[in-house]
């Protein structure tokens, strides 16, 4: 462990951290609560880089359905302990990519490895590290929840004892002895999460994990994802709920029409698109002098005044300066709200550009 300083990408606050030289270290900025990550520099050889850092490596994967290219030369990697969001509109190729990772669908080209094991050639070894929650969760309806989990535990050669505690973890302890055929969609989804967690996998692949869940179920699943993140489990999360992805993911990839159109941290994607934050201020009194001073600042693109509300569109580095300038001009701020560009805007921008 060594001491490193990091600068928060949102508020510029300096963080001092004890970091590992081999694995990413995560921290939360105490000021703005943005999640920060320290990544150690690349290791010496390609082999050690792949085996120790990248839990999932997808390289140039292509899949045809007859003449239709469902997945087109897709490449990305997910590092150990990372939460990787996989986004795309319906029919973009998200589920096909996931099925290629699990070898449920045979890719026509490319290579996929999990912890260094080729999923085609060494599928059994690769799958030992994977927990999977499919988009369409299905169980054996004639068996109880517990009997279902016992079967999957046996198949993974795990002791059956952990099944009961996993059922409790997902809040199904009262219905563990009920047949799954009597379960609601939400209950099946939660049981699916318990199945994915069997054997504490290193890589969790979650395909639309909150699909069809009620509000309580959504909160429960999000809590579980956070718990896994804290334990250092690598998570590959495919979801169409962008706020969910933005809240938990370290990096995202956006797929559209079978191609990866962007992949990076959400902040970096915002920067790349030059999406600007919007500052909304409620002042006790608005004067022309105040507005002129703000408009003259380098990095301010537009200022709109609606009654006592002032909307300022500006580059991220000038946010603090806007507020300082207004107070210097005698403005008394009753309310302040900074609206960062959301992942929705990033997503729409990238998917529009490729339509």
């Amino acid at each position: 462990m060594v001491q490193k300083t990091l600068k928060c990408s949102t508020c510029g606050n300096t963080l001092t951290l004890e970091v590992s030289t081999q694995e990413p270290t995560y921290a939360t900025c105490p000021k703005c609560h943005t999640r920060a990550v320290y990544r150690p520099p690349p290791l010496v050889t390609k082999y050690t880089l792949q085996s120790s850092m990248e839990t999932l490596q997808v390289t140039n994967v292509t899949k045809f359905y007859k003449a239709f290219k469902a997945v087109d030369d897709v490449s990305f990697s997910v590092k150990k302990g990372e939460i990787f969001g996989f986004l795309g509109p319906n029919g973009a190729g998200k589920t096909t990519t996931i099925k290629c990772i699990l070898d449920l669908i045979h890719a026509d080209k490319g290579m996929i490895s999990v912890k260094g094991f080729d999923t085609r050639k060494e599928g059994k070894k690769a799958k030992q590290f994977i927990g999977y929650l499919p988009e369409k969760v299905a169980f054996y309806d004639n068996l109880t929840a517990l009997q279902n989990l016992h079967f999957y535990a046996e198949m993974k050669q795990l002791p059956k004892e952990q099944c009961a505690s996993l059922i409790s973890l997902v809040g199904l302890e009262d219905v563990g002895q009920k047949k799954v055929g009597e379960f609601s969609k939400g209950m099946q989804q939660r049981l699916g999460m318990a199945r994915a967690m069997l054997g504490s996998p290193s890589l969790l692949i979650l395909d639309e994990p909150t699909n069809g869940l009620d509000a309580r179920g959504v909160v429960l699943i999000r809590e579980q994802i956070k718990q896994f993140r804290d334990k250092g489990v690598t998570i590959f999360l495919s979801s169409h709920i962008l706020s969910e992805v933005q809240a938990v993911c370290d990096r995202v990839a956006i797929i559209n029409k079978g191609r990866i159109v962007a992949q990076d941290t959400v902040d970096a994607l915002r920067m790349r698109l030059q999406l600007k934050p919007k500052i909304v201020l409620e002042l006790q009194e608005v004067t022309k002098e105040m507005i002129d001073a703000v408009e003259k600042l380098d990095g301010v693109d537009a200022v709109n005044v609606i009654g006592k509300m002032v909307h300022v569109m500006c580059k991220p580095y000038v946010k603090a300066q806007v507020i300082v300038t207004l107070t210097q001009k005698g403005a008394k701020i009753d309310n302040l709200h900074i609206m960062e560009p959301s992942l929705e805007e990033v997503f729409m921008k990238f998917t529009e550009e490729t339509v």
């Binding site: 699990l102 799958k127 999977y132 299905a138 309806d141 004639n142 198949m155 050669q157």
Partner: protein, 281 residues
């Protein structure tokens, strides 16, 4: 290959069918069938028939119903799980497609094997207690041959389960094959025989000589192979497809018939695995 996933899949298949009473129903049906046929099977004599005569009468019914039961058990084994969505989860586990198909075969095969063994076994004991000098070895051969015969159609149904995208199509295809093997192929071969020997000669049995090609042709039909195996192995057992009980050609042997049944099982199992290994789920 790891035997543990194969065992657990087979165990699950067996327990599922045990829970829904399939095994019990089949066992009772087989036992009753053998007892009734032994007790009332002959119009030439009253009382319990010996093993050969019982097997002879049973064979004509068994060749029809065993394939249907095997097809009902097997046609949805793979496609049913794919349609339901549970195959996704199964294939995400550290197991191979070969182990899954093998587990399905052993699981469903053990249902058929135990129902045949226990059902016909209980009937055999009851028959044996009521007749003199029962042919125990012959009856055991009958049970083993029936199990092999059921597995031929089970593997055929498994293959169709991997071949189609819908369970209903797989069932339709498997039933078509049952009609092909049980009705069309034997009828075509017999039709050719009538054409060559003459219908009158076959019906009257006077001066008719069964040509060698007829026996060679029968080897492509698992039902004929099964009945030939029983006729060759059990004294007094009668092959209903062998008109006038003409002696079999010299190349006909119990060993050849056993090898042919095992070959059918191997071919359909290999085709099932090959098709499943190529399938996108």
């Amino acid at each position: 290959m790891n035997p543990q996933p194969v065992f657990f899949i087979a165990k699950k298949e067996f327990m599922d069918n045990f829970r829904n009473k399939w095994v019990i129903v089949l066992t009772i049906a087989f036992a009753l069938l053998a007892i009734v046929f032994s007790l009332f099977g002959s119009i030439f004599g009253s009382g319990w028939q010996d093993i050969g005569a019982t097997v002879g009468v049973l064979t004509s019914v068994v060749t029809l119903i065993i394939p249907i039961i095997a097809i009902i058990l097997g046609y949805s084994a793979i496609i049913g799980e794919i349609e339901r969505g549970s195959m996704n989860a199964l294939l995400s586990l550290p197991t191979t497609r070969f182990e899954i198909v093998l587990g399905k075969l052993f699981g469903l095969g053990s249902i058929l094997a135990s129902a045949i063994f226990i059902g016909f076994g209980i009937a055999g004991i009851i028959i044996g207690l009521n007749i003199e000098n029962p042919d125990v070895a012959g009856y055991i051969i009958f049970i083993v041959a029936t199990i092999l015969y059921s597995w031929v159609f089970l593997c055929l149904a498994l293959f169709f389960s991997t071949l189609f995208k819908k369970r209903s199509t797989a069932m339709g295809g498997a039933i078509f094959l049952w009609i092909l093997f049980i009705m069309i192929i034997p009828t075509v071969i017999q039709g050719l025989l009538f054409a060559e020997v003459g219908f009158e000669a076959v019906i009257s049995g006077e001066g008719a000589q069964i040509p060698d090609w007829y026996f060679a042709g029968r080897l492509v039909d698992p039902g004929s192979v099964y009945t030939s195996l029983l006729t060759l192995s059990i004294a007094d057992a009668v092959d209903p497809g062998n008109f006038f009980q003409t002696p079999y050609p010299s190349y006909y042997s119990a060993a050849l018939m056993t090898v042919l049944l095992i070959a059918w099982i191997s071919i359909f199992f290999t085709l099932s695995y090959w098709r499943f290994s190529k399938k996108d789920i």
